[in-house]
Amino acid sequence: MAKTIAEINEKIRKGKAVVVTAEEVISIAKEKGVSRAAEEIDVVTTGTFGPMCGSGAFFNIGHSRPRIKLGGGKVYLNDVPVYAGIAAVDVFLGATALPDDDPRNKFYPGEFNYGGGHVIEEMVAGKDIRLTATAFGTDCYPRKKLETLINIKDINEAILFNLRNAYQNYNVAMNLSDKVIYTYMGVLKPNLGNANYSTAGQLSPLLNDPYYKTIGVGTKIFLGGGIGYVAWHGTQHNPTALRGDNGVPRRGSGTLAVIGDLKQMKPEWLVGTSMLGYGCTLTVGIGAPIPILSEEILRYTMVSDADILAPIVDYSEAYPQLKPDILGEVSYAELKSGRIKVQGKDVPTGSLSSYPKAMEIASILKKWIEKGEFLLAEPVAPLPGVESGITFKPLKERPIGD
């Protein structure tokens, strides 16, 4: 019996919806059988919590008296530069932005203690933020200089808009060279000394909906501790990546662009993050509800860590040189056991994405839905799927000429 989102919402409103997490569904569906489970379960909740560099926020700070046009000027929030090439008092703060005087990797490996992601975290936490700006002055916007404290509760809008989040599967990073390397996948020890991975596996939103049958543009989600929406497919969305027989991508593939009102989010779920020798970023909490509209959709949510394979990539050579070579594939069940075997070597594993926090997100979302506080949204357009033929292209460099 197929259900519709409207029918599920009706049950949510009455407080009668049956909601389970993407971890719970695995054993429940095995025990009850797919058809009974698909009938009984209305929603499966997912979650992921990891560093996501494709994150940022728009702010409209309100007009000063006299007015200043920040657009085309230079603007900083707590000394971190923001993008001001838009309307008069709108700015965009990217998660990886660094203060001009940050030493970067001059003292290698750089520490990157404070950047855009940290400003976003402090902003959400309700702390006052220092805004400093210079502009060129016009007849209608005469002011050239502005220095003020701002606070999220006073400014007009604060909108989290992450262009690429929630990667559907990702690389396992290792280091074949004979020296330590510092990457966005963490510190990698020489000679295959450790392996770092970064997804929540069986709990991860897009791994539970591998063909994007329910998650689409307009899907309402848990974002940064509040409510957000899928705005579009994320950049580098690659639905045609290699997939297993179960449909689950075996390489980095789908991504989401997400949006939401930062004012109702929480700092525990948007954490400023420093990657040694690499830079600053933001660790983002995202959870998507998957409406169980059919047996097929339920079957996808039953995916477990043992069914999801990830490629092992050498970050000393293959990754920086954009070579397609991989060192092998490994399942999340193996990765989560704490040790994997790579080229005959027994290697300890570490993660950058937090499974306990992903679990917490899936449970919070479950509670919201059970209590009738969170209704599902019908997607207004699908994400591009396998049939779109969209692939992830490298840059074709062409000489500019003289």
Binding site: F49, G50, P51, P109, E111, N113, D178, K179, V180, G186, V187, K189, P190, G193, N194, A195, N196, V271, G272, T273, S274, M275, L276, T283, K336, G338, P348, T349, G350, S351, L352, S353, S354, Y355, P356, K357, M359
Partner: protein
């Protein structure tokens, strides 16, 4: 007077192959108990040990170590975890030379065993949300 201290030795690459520790025993009559070693040729080495002996020999031994270019750090410092910042990601697990971090299998939370920590400081900068804090 006899002393016994836990220290961390950082060896620059050029002296990882010299028999430094052997000389501590032979020339200064000190005894040692290695708690953790990670020295590989051509890289910086790290040795955590308990070094014991007569105070004056101990001092001479430390002076000798300093002269060879070994950087010494005593364990009077302390590393603690700010529980409110730890996200239980697990990035620290493979970084720690003494396996002070472990995964609790059921909850998959990252446990920190303070007793195993030898205050090498490696996790402090490797922890993405900077939850590990060095106290002096």
């Amino acid at each position: 007077m006899n002393v016994s201290r836990r220290i961390v030795l950082h060896f620059p690459p050029n002296i990882t192959e010299q028999p430094v520790v052997y000389r501590l025993v032979k020339d200064f009559g000190l005894t040692f108990n290695i708690l953790k070693a990670s020295v590989s040729p051509g890289e910086e080495g790290l040795l955590v040990m308990e070094l014991s002996g007569e105070q004056k020999n101990y001092d001479k031994g430390i002076k000798y170590l300093t002269e060879t270019g070994v950087e010494i750090q005593s364990l009077s410092q302390d590393v603690v975890r700010d529980e409110s910042r730890c996200t239980h990601c697990g990035a620290c697990i493979t970084i720690c030379p003494t396996e002070a971090f472990s995964l609790e299998p059921k909850t998959r939370k990252v446990l920190f065993d303070h007793n195993k920590c030898v205050v090498c400081g490696l996790c402090v900068k490797a922890c993405p949300p900077r939850a590990m804090i060095l106290h002096f």
